[in-house]
């Protein structure tokens, strides 16, 4: 009873020389080529034999060559196997004196078509990589001016983003491999044209076998990500939250303002609540409230539960740096266009406007609260409108508290003094 073995096919259509050598090597080990699919090759187990294999790439129609061609091969000592491999008819001979099937430059046109096809497939894979959403999203955040550095880092940590990046890398690898193999085939073609010895290429590798298996799933995954993996939704999911926020609500800071917010939410106040989880921060919750009318209310809270305390320390340091490293010189150079424009409206208006961007904070970093590891409280000393009456002399207050691996970042514009509520915030996260 005949025995058979299957082996993964680690080659593409460009690796003609490598496939021929591989089949010959298998024959020397007692594995005789029988048939092949896209991913694997079936060998019959037999006695080892010294056999030359060649792939017929010309005039192959429906996986067959004509009877006339077959007869020509047989008279020259070659046998055509009826089963094809990657679109080629397999030829073999045990006769060391049998002439090579092809020894003229004119016969390389089918190979040139294969090379061109593989090159284009490689280019398409590279284009697919460039159009993979995961790769584009951090760039998109930078372009859109997202200054929340912590958020940018956390965005990279989401599971879906990691999957998209992996998809992108695999697509790029597949594209590069195809183009490299097409170039190798190009060298093979040139050797045939110049009637030189063809370069002996192996090219077999486990990596090649794995990439071959992944080709079709990669294409399907890429198509799916076009519709389903919007990075904006992935990285910042909208979720319906119940009242159990991991931080105080506005009504706990200022009852009147909290009550007013309930009415304002139906009348133009910008209110949103979002949550997300990812590798770096298993839980992230954000509440955003902004209303510019009467009364002016602004209340942002971002809660992060990081994977460990070290990450939370780094996140805290990043947030603090984003405030305290903001120098006047940096602002001046960045807003020079605004200054130039506004100067045309007069010195007073220009000076007023310049002052809007000169962010200067009163910093209080000696605060303590039960259970809190780090606390910083900052008051933005500037007003953000030309008329001070719009803000009634109020200033943005910032409070950042860290307890272990949890972090709260608050921005508030209102009547209350956030400094008086550090214990309250700490109580939610200790």
């Amino acid at each position: 009873m005949r025995q058979f073995k299957r082996k993964l096919m680690p080659f593409t259509a460009c690796d003609i020389s490598a496939i021929e050598k591989w089949l010959s090597d298998m024959a020397q080990k007692g594995l005789i080529y029988e048939s092949s699919g896209y991913f694997s090759v079936r060998f019959a187990v037999s006695k080892p034999v010294k056999r030359r294999y060649r792939l017929e790439y010309a005039d192959v129609i429906g996986g067959h060559i004509t009877d006339e061609k077959r007869a020509m091969y047989e008279e020259s000592g070659w046998t055509a196997v009826d089963e094809i491999i990657l679109g080629f008819v397999v030829l073999y001979t045990d006769d060391a004196d049998a002439p090579e099937p092809y020894n003229a430059p004119e016969t390389v046109k089918p190979l040139e078509k294969i090379k061109k096809r593989q090159t284009w497939i490689g280019i398409i894979f590279i284009l697919m990589f460039l159009l993979t959403k995961g790769i584009g999203s951090p760039i998109g955040s930078l372009i859109s001016g997202d200054r929340d550095i912590l958020l940018l880092i956390l965005n990279i940590g989401t599971i879906r983003y990691a999957a998209l990046c992996l998809l992108g890398i695999l697509l790029l690898t597949e594209g590069i491999l195809r183009i490299v193999r097409a170039k190798r085939l190009g060298k093979y073609i040139e050797a045939l044209k110049n009637e030189e010895a063809v370069p002996k290429l192996t090219g077999k590798s486990c990596f090649g076998a794995v990439m071959k298996l992944l080709t079709l799933p990669l294409v399907l995954a890429w198509i799916l990500q076009l519709w389903f993996f919007d990075p904006n939704v992935t990285l910042y999911e909208m979720a319906k939250l119940d009242d159990n926020y991991p931080f105080p609500m506005l009504s706990e800071i200022n009852a009147e303002e909290g009550e007013a917010l309930n009415e304002l939410s139906d009348h133009g106040a910008q209110v949103s609540a979002r949550e997300r989880s990812d590798f770096l921060a298993p839980e992230t919750v954000e509440l955003f409230v902004d209303y510019w009318g009467e009364p002016n209310i602004s209340y942002w809270v971002k809660y992060y539960e990081l994977r460990n305390e070290k990450l939370a320390e780094e996140a805290y340091d990043e947030l603090v740096y984003s405030f305290t490293a903001y120098t006047q010189e940096e602002l001046a150079s960045r807003n020079i266009m605004y200054r130039a424009k506004l100067k045309s409206d007069g010195a007073k208006a220009a000076n007023e406007f310049i002052r809007l961007f000169d962010k200067i904070y009163d910093i209080y970093d000696e605060l303590t609260a039960d259970g809190a590891d780090d606390i910083i409280y900052l008051v933005d000393k500037n007003d953000y409108t030309a008329s001070e009456s719009d803000m009634d002399g109020k200033h943005y207050q910032h409070l950042i508290i860290r307890c272990g691996n949890k972090l709260i970042n608050v921005r508030y514009l209102g009547e209350s003094d956030l400094k008086d509520y550090t214990e309250l915030y700490a109580s939610y996260i200790r």
């Binding site: 017929e56 010309a58 005039d59 009877d67 006339e68 061609k69 077959r70 007869a71 020509m72 091969y73 008279e75 020259s76 070659w78 002439p99 090579e100 099937p101 092809y102 020894n103 003229a104 430059p105 004119e106 016969t107």
Partner: protein, 104 residues
């Protein structure tokens, strides 16, 4: 301006036409003729032979005239004969010019 196909013939093409000048033959006989005539110097692999015969037949340089079992028999056409003669004349001129150069 694109070069006309078969404006020059390769050695293998020339010998193939030479084989058919002497009478119609099948592919195997052509291959054998070329091997003997060239003393083994010019060899046509079966794949190359088939490709050249197909190409020549498509361009009416040779014509299919019958079958011998599974083998097709080919004969040279007038156009093929003209190509052969032109190539022969061209090569003779080349040899002549080279010999004149040597004498100078």
């Amino acid at each position: 301006m694109a070069r006309k196909k078969f404006s020059t013939l390769t050695e293998q093409m020339f010998y193939l036409l030479m084989a058919l000048i002497g009478g119609s033959k099948c592919g195997t006989d052509v291959s054998e003729y070329i091997r003997k005539k060239s003393g083994g110097r010019v060899l046509l692999g079966p794949g190359t032979l088939y490709a050249l015969l197909s190409d020549f037949e498509a361009e009416n340089v040779i014509a299919y005239v019958g079958m011998e079992g599974k083998k097709k028999i080919y004969a040279i056409t007038d156009y093929g004969r003209r190509l052969y003669d032109e190539e022969l004349k061209r090569m003779k001129q080349c040899v002549f010019d080279a010999e004149m150069e040597d004498e100078e």
